[in-house]
């Protein structure tokens, strides 16, 4: 909502600067900023056009003499509306206009031009660029344009919250400001005109189908109206809020809308041939051509103004073309009504129409304002458009809008505010806002004004009191209460540790979009959760895995020349396991992938380490070691549904908590991947965090020395080393504390389908220093079992 400062000053007597007004309004909850950006208008001054001659070498150009307060300068100008005597916005040589447009001294078709006469667009006021901006005649040449702008066109852009329909008007904003500043407010006359005989009643027959939809409907008639251009004051007033003048009738309606927030509609009375108005819901298949010449297809959600048969307006949203006012109109029927907010809201939404009228009606107009607006419009039509009022009005008000008195308790005010706002301040605030206030013992009884539909409860009054008292004036209470929660303080408390470990290993954390295309989702066979109203095809379903996001990110960076990546993300994935909300399962995952080289060869070492299954396995092992999670088992897993191939489950205490493997090639096409193979992991993060939370207990350090032995077995190539280690460990007789493969050797000398595996065995006892006689029998047993089970031979 654009508020003209001069208009505001018609209602209240204030001497604040525009900036101060803006700050005051913001601190009242009417978020405000200057309507024009003047930051690059500093060099522009007021000029006066002293003389105009035709440009000798160009038909469409004029040669103007512009007086800038000191000198008279030649300026070439092409605007059609330039006239001698005009005051204009003059950009002298050297000024830089919005958009970094620098004014230089120039020769235009042989004539010197020292500056520019600006259009509204060139000074950021509007998009108007057809001619120059003509200023008020009393502007002083040489004054800065910014001053002129602030004084004549000063305006604020307000962001009105939905609870304050009353502030969609200059009067409403003035009321709030006056209440805060504790000053009086002067309004134009909204007085009733007296009449002895109600002639209007005989000229139009108005009926309502449902008073619920339209609690109040007022109509008045003015005849002999001269529809034509508005007087300058009216044009300027509308322009100061960014509106264009159309004709005097439309302008009057708009003026009242912007002044007091009451939408009205003016019909050409002669075009309502039935001389009857019936307000009813639309029928299915009914349609109307509205003022903007669009045909609107209606449904029972919309409320209509009809002539008894056909619609002539969509109530509270837009008038119909068939009864619209034009140059030839003379007798006008004015409608001021109060429509039920939800009805207008629903209708406007259905039709996809947001108009100045609907915006106000759907938030709640002032039911008493309808009548005031009617008298104001009639007066203006008489004053401005030579109209003659036909005595009487029709005022249907079958469903009186009630506003109950509300009790405000001192106790409640003190608890909620946290401070003691003085009695006088409470009463003054509420009275200033238009409430009738009665003070009782420890409480106030308030009746809010008709224009504040948002004040319904005690807490609403408290808000008003605190708001006017000033949020700044409420002290901060540093007396903080103690501990109150005996439950879990943060269920994710080990997450930071996991993130720190993974980033320490070189993984980068990413956040990716939870909304994905069905194409990407279809890489895996999970039943996804789909949106009814997606933003686009690319974001129509909820992710079922974190892998797509990780792969997309790897691919994005790959294309930008970053070929080696270790990425991880944590977050929810979603599955529609059964129908309805109950059937939606949200699962918290931690997934990651590695692509390219973990370590690259360098000047220090020729060795490089590409991403591989074993890299991921190593990372997972190291992560678990840091988290103190023991007894991990990796088992081959044939299922490829989670998006990994050569998958292994990661089990802790025989429970699967995650998977490692190679990222499935199913993703390649569906995600248009350019990257090569990558390896990844996926964990159930809830389980992982739970395991990471378990406290590990201290074990005494073993002081006796360990004994290291190597065994080198030759066995069949196909036998997994892990199985040999497993068998060795099982036969360690409590003194084998670790066994680790150290090399694998392949050569025809040991047989083509064989390999030699060297294994390091470490023996240690917590009770004594081991000797050969303790270790040898265990080693012999290990050799025997391994040889037998795997047909292995010692090398």
């Amino acid at each position: 909502m654009r508020i003209s400062i001069n208009w505001l000053k018609e209602f209240i007597n204030i001497s604040l600067t525009n900036e101060e007004i803006s700050d005051k309004l913001t601190m009242l909850g009417l978020e405000s900023e200057a309507a024009y950006n003047t930051s690059s208008l500093g060099n522009i001054v007021i000029g006066e056009i002293k003389d105009i001659i035709k440009h000798p070498n160009a038909d469409k150009l004029n040669l103007c003499k512009v007086y800038d307060g000191k000198n008279t300068l030649p300026v070439v100008c092409g605007a059609p509306n330039v006239k001698v005597g005009q005051k204009i916005a003059f950009a002298p040589v050297g000024s830089i206009l919005p958009g970094n447009f620098k004014i230089n001294k120039a020769k235009i078709r042989g004539e010197v031009s020292q500056g520019m006469i600006c259009s509204e667009k060139e000074v950021n006021i509007s998009d108007e660029h057809d001619g120059i901006m003509v200023l008020d005649v009393d502007a002083t040449p040489g004054d800065t344009f910014i001053n002129y702008l602030n004084n004549n066109l000063g305006a604020l852009e307000l962001d009105i919250t939905p609870n304050r329909p009353d502030c969609f008007s200059h009067l409403g904003v003035a009321r709030d400001l006056a209440a805060k500043l504790n000053i009086d407010i002067h309004t134009p006359s909204y007085d009733k005109k007296s009449f002895s005989k109600n002639i209007v009643k005989d000229m139009i027959n108005i009926s309502l189908e449902d008073p619920e939809d339209c609690p109040r409907y007022i109509a008045g008639i003015v005849k002999d109206v001269n529809v034509g251009p508005s007087p300058d004051w009216l044009k300027r007033k509308l322009e100061s809020t960014g509106q264009r003048s159309i004709n005097n009738v439309v302008d009057i309606s708009n003026l009242v809308l912007l002044e007091m927030g009451q939408p009205s509609h003016i019909f050409d009375y002669d075009k309502i041939d039935s001389k009857q108005i019936l307000i009813r819901r639309a029928n299915k298949n009914e349609k109307i051509k509205t003022l903007d010449e669009e045909t609107r297809f209606l449904s029972a959600a919309e409320l209509l103004i009809t002539n008894g048969k056909k619609p002539i307006a969509i109530a509270g949203i837009m008038g119909g073309l068939s009864t619209s006012v034009n140059d030839k109109s003379s007798t006008l029927l004015i409608e001021c009504a109060y429509f039920n907010p939800p009805v207008i809201r629903k209708g406007a939404k259905n039709l996809g129409m947001l108009t100045e009228a609907s915006k106000r009606f759907e938030r709640g107009a002032d039911p008493d304002g309808t009548e005031k607006a009617m008298w104001r419009i009639i007066q203006l039509l008489e004053d401005v458009a030579n109209g003659v009022w036909i005595p009487g009005i029709v005022d249907l008000y079958p469903k009186k809008i009630k506003q109950d008195s509300i009790k405000l308790r001192r106790l409640k005010l003190d608890i909620l505010s946290g401070c003691k706002i003085p009695d006088e301040a409470v009463k003054e605030s509420l009275t200033n806002l238009g409430c009738t206030v009665k003070k009782n013992d420890g409480e106030w009884i308030c009746k809010p004004p008709s224009w504040r539909p948002d004040i319904k409860r005690e807490v609403d009054l408290i808000e008003e009191v605190v708001r006017l008292y000033g949020y700044d004036n409420i002290p901060s209470n540093l007396n903080y209460q103690g501990i109150m929660n005996d439950g879990i303080i943060d269920p994710h408390r080990s997450l930071s540790k996991i993130i720190n470990i993974l980033t320490g290993f070189g993984f980068n954390q990413i956040f990716s979009n939870s909304l994905q295309s069905s194409r990407k989702i279809s890489a895996l066979n999970f039943k996804s959760v789909k949106m009814l109203n997606p933003l686009s095809d690319k974001m129509s379903e909820m992710r079922t895995s974190l892998f797509q996001g990780l792969l997309d990110t790897a691919n994005f960076n790959f294309k930008n020349g970053n070929h080696d990546m270790m990425l991880f993300e944590w977050g929810n994935v979603f599955e529609q396991e059964a129908d309805g909300l109950e059937g939606i399962k949200e699962k918290l995952y931690l997934s990651g992938l590695a692509h390219g080289f973990y370590l690259k060869s360098s000047v220090h070492s020729d060795e490089s380490l590409p991403a591989s299954f074993h890299l991921i396995k190593g990372i997972v092992g190291a992560l678990f070691s840091r988290l103190k999670i023991n007894d991990i088992n990796y088992d081959k897993f044939e299922d490829i549904s989670i998006g990994l191939e050569d998958t292994h489950t990661v089990k802790v205490d025989s429970e699967i908590i995650g998977y490692i493997g190679k990222l499935s090639s199913k993703f390649d096409n569906l995600l248009n991947l350019a990257i090569g193979e990558s390896y990844g992991f996926q964990f159930d993060l809830i389980q992982l965090m739970k395991l990471a939370d378990i406290k590990n207990e201290y074990k005494p350090v073993v002081v006796y020395p360990s004994m290291i032995r190597d065994l080198n077995f030759v066995l069949d190539e196909t036998i997994p080393v892990g199985e040999i280690i497993h068998v060795i460990n099982k036969n360690g007789k409590n003194i084998l504390i670790d066994s680790e493969p150290v090399s694998i050797f392949r050569d025809s000398s040991i047989g083509d389908n064989n390999k030699a595996v060297a294994i390091n065995l470490i023996f240690q006892s917590s009770k004594k220093t081991l000797e050969d006689k303790d270790v040898n029998p265990v080693i012999n047993e290990i050799i025997r079992v391994v040889s037998k089970k795997f047909s292995a031979k010692l090398r």
Partner: protein
Amino acid sequence: MKLKESIESVRNQFRTDSDPFPSDEASLNSLRIKYIGRKGLIAGLFSGMSDVLPKDRPLAGQLLNELKIEINSFFYEKSNVSKKILTKENTDTSLPGINIPTGHIHPLQQTLDQIKSIFSDVGFSIAYGPEIDDDFHNFGALNFPPEHPARDMQDTFFIDPETVLRTHTSNVQIHLMEDQDPPLRYIVPGRVYRNEAISYKSYCLFNQVEGIYVDKKVSFSDLKSMLEYFVKRMFGDNTKMRFRPSFFPFTEPSAEVDIWSEKRKEWLEILGCGMVDPEVFKSVNIDSNIWHGYAFGMGVERICMLKYGIDDIRLFYQGDMRFLEQF
């Protein structure tokens, strides 16, 4: 004790001989032979042990061993240095260090962690809740009547007419108050969704942290002090801030908190807050005559953008390493 003196003299001699440490293989070898060769100085000292009185032998042995370890480890260290470097005349210290893989914690995570820690420090617990929820928890219970204009503010993704992608983590407020009796004090981080066109300043989802505190006497004054404390910890002790009246369906009175940007010379909105609306308490059967509360909500992205001067929200979700590596 003669041996002790001999040990010290050999040590000093070695320190002189080994500085500078020989750079060619031949002189390195002769140095090795001189001290730790089979007939070297150390071996000579050991053979002198027999002349030491039995009572002095343990100490002498210990001293001699120490010298042997010192010299041995000296050779070990020096010769273990990468051959590439050793074979050159000098160690080229201007070469870059060995490349250690480095990962980076996402700026949103860092900001979220900081927010969490500030509030846990003063006694807030942390709770999480569903991203997909029913209309009641996301709107109804939070005093958004079906036709309320505030729904204009949040255009929502629907799964079905009764199920939405939550538009704020306030839905968890409702779950918490349904599940436990006051007093309670929580912050609720999580992803929330808005059906908005994607641009540099808005994304279809963002991370929010909601806070709620319900007790018998909770005031607007308490809310102010809490958020002042938060802002100071998050943005620095000298941060200028203001509370200005605003409107949310689930709080009354409501406020918006701005901080002053000296760089941009303007107030920047960082969070919304207010006193829990009695209608919200009513929907979870908490008596608003006894219990009062405050609530606040902030966008992690917004706070992070202000903190680091990031000007495009999409950067957070693009995963561009050139961006992430800066944090």
